[in-house]
Symmetry: C2
Subunit: 741 residues, 2 copies
Amino acid sequence: MKRLNFVLLLIFSFVLANAQKLMGFSDADAAKQIDWEKQFDAQLNAQNLDTWLQFLSSHPHHVGSPQDKANAEYMSNLFRSWGYQTEIASYYVLFPTPKSRLLELIGSKPYKAKLVETGVKEDKTTNQLSEQLPTYNAYSADGDVTAELVFVNRGIPADYEELERMGVDVKGKIVIAKYGGSWRGIKPKVAYEHGAIGCIIYSDPEDDGYTQGDVYPEGPFRRGDGVQRGSVMDMPVYPGDPLTPDIGATKDAKRLDRKDATTIMKIPVLPISYEDALPFLQSLGGQVVPAAWRGSLPITYHVGPSKEKVHIKLEFNWDQKQLYDVIAKMPGSEFPDEWVIRGNHHDGWVNGASDPLGGMIAELEEARVVGELAKKGFRPKRTLVYCAWDGEEPALLGSTEWVEDHQQELKQKAVAYINSDGNGRGFIGASGSHTLETFFNEITNDVTDPQTGVTIKERKYANTVVNADKTARSKLIGNKYIKLGALGAGSDYSPFLQHLGIASMNLGFGGENQGGEYHSIYDSYDLFVKFKDPGFQYGVALSKTAGRVTMRLADADVLPFDFSTFYKTVNDYTAELKTLLETTRAETETENKIIKEKLYDLAKDPKKQYKSPSVKEAVPFLNFSNLENALAQLKESTEEFQKLYSKASQMAPAKQKELNDVLYKAERSLINSNGLPRRSWFKHEIYAPGYYTGYGVKTLPGIREGIEQRNWTEAQENIEIVAKALQLYNEQVKQAIVLLK
Amino acid sequence: MKRLNFVLLLIFSFVLANAQKLMGFSDADAAKQIDWEKQFDAQLNAQNLDTWLQFLSSHPHHVGSPQDKANAEYMSNLFRSWGYQTEIASYYVLFPTPKSRLLELIGSKPYKAKLVETGVKEDKTTNQLSEQLPTYNAYSADGDVTAELVFVNRGIPADYEELERMGVDVKGKIVIAKYGGSWRGIKPKVAYEHGAIGCIIYSDPEDDGYTQGDVYPEGPFRRGDGVQRGSVMDMPVYPGDPLTPDIGATKDAKRLDRKDATTIMKIPVLPISYEDALPFLQSLGGQVVPAAWRGSLPITYHVGPSKEKVHIKLEFNWDQKQLYDVIAKMPGSEFPDEWVIRGNHHDGWVNGASDPLGGMIAELEEARVVGELAKKGFRPKRTLVYCAWDGEEPALLGSTEWVEDHQQELKQKAVAYINSDGNGRGFIGASGSHTLETFFNEITNDVTDPQTGVTIKERKYANTVVNADKTARSKLIGNKYIKLGALGAGSDYSPFLQHLGIASMNLGFGGENQGGEYHSIYDSYDLFVKFKDPGFQYGVALSKTAGRVTMRLADADVLPFDFSTFYKTVNDYTAELKTLLETTRAETETENKIIKEKLYDLAKDPKKQYKSPSVKEAVPFLNFSNLENALAQLKESTEEFQKLYSKASQMAPAKQKELNDVLYKAERSLINSNGLPRRSWFKHEIYAPGYYTGYGVKTLPGIREGIEQRNWTEAQENIEIVAKALQLYNEQVKQAIVLLK
């Protein structure tokens, strides 16, 4: 061999050995893909995000508003101009808006709540009063009630247990709850369960007001008159149009009577500002609240009841409104019947610059550049579906109705759903189906953090280590792996994941974009560019991140699903549940001893009303064996699958197609057609929003909520159900192994 | 044996077997003692406490006030009338009072601090304005300074580390600190060490104002204009008259020049109310404070510096004042040269109903009934010395000067010192020398909680279990033993314990007597009877508890000291220190890795000023072997001693006297005549107030502060010093064993 040849060979070997691998791509395809991604990055333009944000947030764009429709048309025109097959899918949903709102304290120191957010001169859109939705909670009941007031902290079940010990009953009373600690709809739901006849929810300054930082316009935090609008529909039962559960709310769909819609709140609910809350809180007598219940208004917080009565009168227009979902498709070059779906909602409560447009504009720019690349020859194998959902704010309306409407097709075709929503400066946040975790980690090595120049994975890792407990830090050092969070509720992935079993992800940057503008008139363009993502750098970073997820999923030879991460995660959840059961057992035993020794009676302050808790039923042992056996089998097959997976990108295309079909449909086997106890719409056996937390996820929800609610029979039944789901899942994995061998 | 005799024998055996044992008493003496205690309990009369509190709190009674002297005379008359040999011991001390006070914010929004607490009509003594000491910090420097303001949270060293990371320097600035988190004198001391030229301390409503509960007169918490007076002398260096360290401040004592007194603050310091603090805090610019630094005023807290300047001008009358210590003795019937000393201070900052009179009135009633019993034939073997100290508030002046003045006699004669101070409704709190722990536990079985009817030990246990972490509860169930806290500083036990090595205890009830009246004009009779101890039930409970401690110590055949509890406690402290060293090593390693990986740089928000910390010196291994060997020997001998101890009450009286001498002088061997590093007045090797915490105790202080300050040489030196002290202590234990054999 000549010396030169030898050197060339060396160089060639070096290049080959060091060529970047991409999960699911052959080396040759990976090199091409990486090249397209470089072009993709280069063409992303922050100026576009700015332009779109200015237009889309220029007027209030809630469901039913002229700007909502205008935005849908604006975006559909954009998608179309970029080469997508674009349509606006319309649904017709129940969307109540206020007809009249009254909240007053009556008696010796009367006060009538203002219920108005005032515009600031520094912010041009905050003064569009006539176009703004008033401050209200959508799907509150109509009502006219007068009663004493009780402060219920966050209004979650544990708070009512504490109130009971303090001898305070909310029956026939109006409750006032702080925002936070649960999804807002939980508060009136639990209040109603305890007999309350009305519910006020307010934003305590401790949570997103002056306590956190300077208020708008000096800083991004909530002003004294800022109000968090929002839905209180009972979405942990089912999201979407309350009148058309399980089916698309098309024009002619069969609808329930409104009185039969179980997700509409049964009592009047109204959100207020902390300035409006102050006189009501000051009217409260009774005991001083437990320390953990305090807010940061300059008062002593009492539980009540109030000395004076409170009057709430609410009337709504129970109208049907038209939704405008923008659906833009680019058919796959090889597998047009495999869909990679990317979505963000476009409706806001008011001008919605951050929520939802912070994520929407990143999706638009991603779609624009993909369109550009397509013109230059980038034709992904699978169909790309870019969506801009309407009506997310009231109840995930647009996404849920579209998913319900297209459920048969989606069950067949949907490979994955990638969601985003608000977005801002900071660190990557990612939750999703755990089959996608390895794939996502690979992507975070390839996106650069705009402020520091390291990868977004490195920056996330630095943040995790630095902010960890001193005791936890040493274990975290060196471990840069990003564990995906589990998806609960709160954005449009719910119908995809939890109703149909489509592997899903939710992506966004944040942590340096705190504020108190959420669902208020102050969530504006001016606030966004000053405090959320100046220069739109993190919008572009989201385009790069979600764009890579979408493009690689769409163009991979073999879909980048990792079953072993799924196994490990579910195995961890199971271990957690066993620990939860053991902890509950030990704590119950201890608690019962304490009660029987009368220690609560002896420790309490005799000058304060306090009812010691009662002895609880002992916690039985549950039989986890079927679940554990299913996991053991899953461990074996997922390990075997992962060993064989690297061969897959070398397989014949037809075989690959067969394999891909198995891969993306595996998640479907986690769907139980009967659904979860008491909420059949939620069918996923691994992830669900908590029945009593709303946003917060409950993993292995049937079992976990059974244990938490001390419903041991239900917990045992659900162990068997999950075990069966995992057996079905395992069949899919085994089928994949057969194809790989 | 006849049947009747048999029955009688059975009854007699039963009575004997079930007769209550008392530590240090023969069975016969125990029975007598218990009988006296029954009479003692029966004669305690809550009405007396009420009468005395009314008189003693009727006018402000700070050092130098007419009522201070009148109270001393009133009490000395009482003691005398009860049969005590009573004297008023006077000392002459430096006690500064304000000549002029000015605090203002200058510039565009000028504000002059009011510096006045306003009387309330519901409380008769709050309006005695002309007699009240103005709000001030005693032993502040005179000064007239103008500078920008910086918020330093609690003003402890860790806060300045955080400020440095935020890029904020206090050099040449005035600082404003929240009360709490350390003894108040630490705040100006640390501010001065960092170059500040003035210090404001304010009471944030989060700590004892409206956040905690209703403010006075609706509730007991601090009003908007309430101010915490208090001393800022550098008492962790030495307490007592700053001009006469180590010696009694008699009329003719040799005095230091004021400029040479190291314990007087070097910068002007002023305490203010939260109403006065508000404009100053609002003037602060700069970054928003870390979350843990927030208070609960309705503002966004910033670190500063302020946009405007702050002006403090303080002038004091640096006068000498006369102290009036009341010393009342009842000579012992058998061992008049063994003294059991019981004390409480009588001076207050203003009317001082709770602090100090809550404890003082309990001591008076205890002494009264002991006097009554004495008339009926109860003559304790040892001398009882009842003390009412003057000048505790400025600097433990009365107790320290008396102890320094009588140090030779006290070293010989003092068996123990039993202290109390404020007192109120709730649970027994007890700290002290661990040789007294077993003895004290015995006593808590014999005193009934007035609200629940169970023993004070049972109630304390119930409170401990109920309020423990869920994870800790199961371990606490069944363990009713009361572990004594270690004594730091904060009341008159310091000179006895930490200067002379006299075994000491501090006792008081509390936990249901919260309030914000501390060191303000609102610490009044009216507040006390409404919120602190209505009906004086816990005053009587304190008389019963401290009375038993005093009487049993005074009358025991053999002193009830338990060396094994001392050993166990010091062994635990040593284990703690080894863990502290290991934890510090591990955390330093982790922190250094984080710094070297630049994770702080990557995690920080680039839009905020933030300096990443610097690499720290690695933590060396220290040689604990001499200390561990000393502990091993101590373990062996204390175990042997405890086995033999039960014999002691059967020993001949002369032998008992010899043994008692060894027992109570054992604590003296823990005294190191050179004192602790940088503060020779503090000579106890086991307990000291923290140099940078003030109240908070540091156990094994020489070693612990060496490790905390990362002064490894000093830590190692102090390991050897403590080892030697324990060897000397062990010699005492061995001598006791010889006597017992």
